[in-house]
């Protein structure tokens, strides 16, 4: 940037680095905004999958429906695990902003990664259980839409985990430089977004399905 005037305090939803690292804050402006726009389009994608699911929730074609297939306990555990991972990511963000300590940050990220991977593990075991019951996505429109909605979220969490892994390595290689920081900012938004999407899945798919 060539203009030497004092930058305006720009605020956007999510973590702002303005107070502790004004340069990165300035650089993050476009990147984080762009990422929000991307998430908006991703949110539209999920909204459509929800809509498809809602229209097909009764299209069981004589097969099992939500009430027969879903169980509250495992999904509640999954929800808590994912919420916990959001908390650990929140810790990571605070460490990045106020402590700027690479190892602590890595520990918080590893915690998040472990929780994320266990969430994936729980989901895989859920899918396996359903498959053993014969409730495969080929059985009915309802099951197709259920599997696709939940596994789209699954794939998002999986890419989030790969992203965390890459950032862990980058933290070791580059330390906490501007690029790493702006990426962690975006990763944070992504991770919390997935958490919110899961809350919707938990509510509209599992809780309403079991009602």
């Amino acid at each position: 940037m060539t203009n030497s005037t004092t930058p305006l305090p720009r605020l956007y939803p999510g973590m702002n680095l303005g107070e502790t690292d004004p340069d990165t804050h300035e650089a993050a402006e476009e990147l984080v905004f762009g990422f929000w726009v991307f998430l908006m389009s991703d949110a539209v994608l999920f909204a459509l999958l929800f809509a498809v699911y809602e229209t097909m929730v009764n299209s069981t074609a004589g097969g099992p429906g939500a009430a027969q297939l879903f169980h509250l306990k495992p999904t509640l555990i999954e929800t808590l695990v994912l919420l916990a991972s959001s908390f650990t990511f929140g810790m990571a963000s605070l460490i990045m902003k106020f402590k700027q300590h690479v190892v602590l940050l890595q520990i918080a990220l590893i915690g998040t990664l472990i929780l994320g991977v266990s969430f994936l593990g729980f989901e895989i075991s859920d899918f396996a259980k359903l498959t053993r019951q014969g409730a495969v996505p080929q059985l009915s429109g309802f099951l197709s839409s259920f599997y696709v909605l939940v596994s789209t979220h699954f794939l998002h969490v999986l890419s989030g985990c790969i992203w965390i892994l890459v950032m862990l390595i980058q933290l070791s290689v580059f330390g906490l430089d501007e690029t790493v920081k702006t990426r962690l900012l975006r990763l944070g938004i992504f991770w919390h977004f997935l958490d919110i999407v899961w809350i919707f899945i938990f509510t509209f798919v599992y809780l309403l399905g079991l009602l």
Binding site: A61, G62, P64, T131, Q133, G134, V136, Q138, L139, S140
Partner: protein, 315 residues
């Protein structure tokens, strides 16, 4: 060419009714001269088509209020303000006038308000699901779209035809439609508008022929190589002719049962109409129900399966 018409009146347009007729004629002529008389809903043969044509003319006339000024003013403006013409006024920074702005927004808003009202009234009045007003009970006909032919079942007469739809003129007809293949659309251009038919679902269409005659029916939704040939004959007959025709079909002893249905349901074109003098309980509903059963799944499951409804009706 304007026949006895069952106008669905638009009260605010009554004063211009005479003008409408003249304009209507002019419109028809500009839109295609005399050749157009031979097909399509501009030469309607049914009450619905008559109303649709009238609506078409009204909407075109209303729209011309916006369109004609553009067609006239654009060449005039372009010519008057051409750069060679240094006599015309030139205001390079003029960019706003409140009055023009009000006009530019106001006229379209007004026209759309009128059109919107018309759309609301006419869409409900001409809803394909709405039974036509008539002293007579509508004739019930069930339609099954196939690749690449149409099956018409006459439950009241216990008979069926392929690629030939026959009914008495001046009596309402009520079609209940489904498809036993992909999505299709049924259109009888001179009679009534299109309605989609989809497997496992039912749609409806009401219409009435104003006079006897032979018309064309067709599928307008692409469904593969035989699509262009998926046409059928529509015959609107006088009551006497109709009962004679029914008698004629009855004399052919052919039964529509599962086996016969399987034969006509194959992907092929029907070169000639086919007649079934008896359907013997063959159920239109069973064709729909077939799509509501449970599919075959290879993955093993110990859960009890509900019987697929509709596949084993005794035919």
């Amino acid at each position: 060419m304007i026949r006895k018409q069952a106008f669905i009146n638009c009260h605010f347009l009554i004063p211009v009714k005479a003008a409408l007729r003249v304009f209507g004629l002019a419109l028809l002529l500009t839109m295609g001269g005399c050749a157009i008389q031979s097909h399509g809903f501009l030469q309607p043969a049914g009450t619905i088509a008559v109303a649709d044509r009238r609506l078409l003319i009204e909407v075109v006339l209303l729209m011309l209020i916006v369109v004609v000024p553009v067609l006239i003013l654009t060449p005039l403006l372009v010519w008057r303000y051409r750069s060679k013409n240094t006599l015309s006024s030139y205001h390079p920074e003029w960019e706003f006038s409140l009055w023009l702005e009000l006009l530019v927004w106001g006229v379209p808003v007004l026209i759309v308000a009128i059109l919107g009202y018309m759309v609301w009234v006419k869409t409900i009045a001409l809803d394909p699901y709405r039974p036509l007003k008539s002293v007579e009970k509508p004739m019930e006909i069930q339609v099954v779209g196939l690749d690449w032919k149409w099956l018409f079942i006459y439950p009241e007469l216990n008979m069926a035809t392929v690629n030939k739809l026959v009914f008495p003129a001046d009596r309402p007809v009520h079609l209940t439609l489904t498809s036993d293949t992909v999505m299709l659309t049924l259109l009888i251009p001179r009679m009534a508008g299109q309605i989609d038919v989809m497997p496992g679902m039912k749609t409806q269409l009401n219409f009435q022929a104003n006079h006897t005659g032979r018309y064309l029916g067709e599928n307008t939704q692409y469904n593969g190589t035989g699509f262009a040939q998926q046409k059928f004959t529509v015959l609107a007959l006088s009551p006497n002719e109709f009962s004679a025709w029914v008698g004629q079909v009855r004399r052919q002893a052919s039964l529509l049962n599962q086996a016969a249905y399987a034969k006509i349901a194959v992907h092929d074109i029907a070169q000639h109409p086919i007649y079934f003098s008896s359907i013997n309980g063959f159920l239109f509903e069973s064709i729909i129900a077939r799509y509501h059963g449970r599919p075959e799944i290879k993955a093993g499951t110990e859960k009890t399966r509900t019987t697929a409804t509709g596949t084993n009706h005794d035919l």
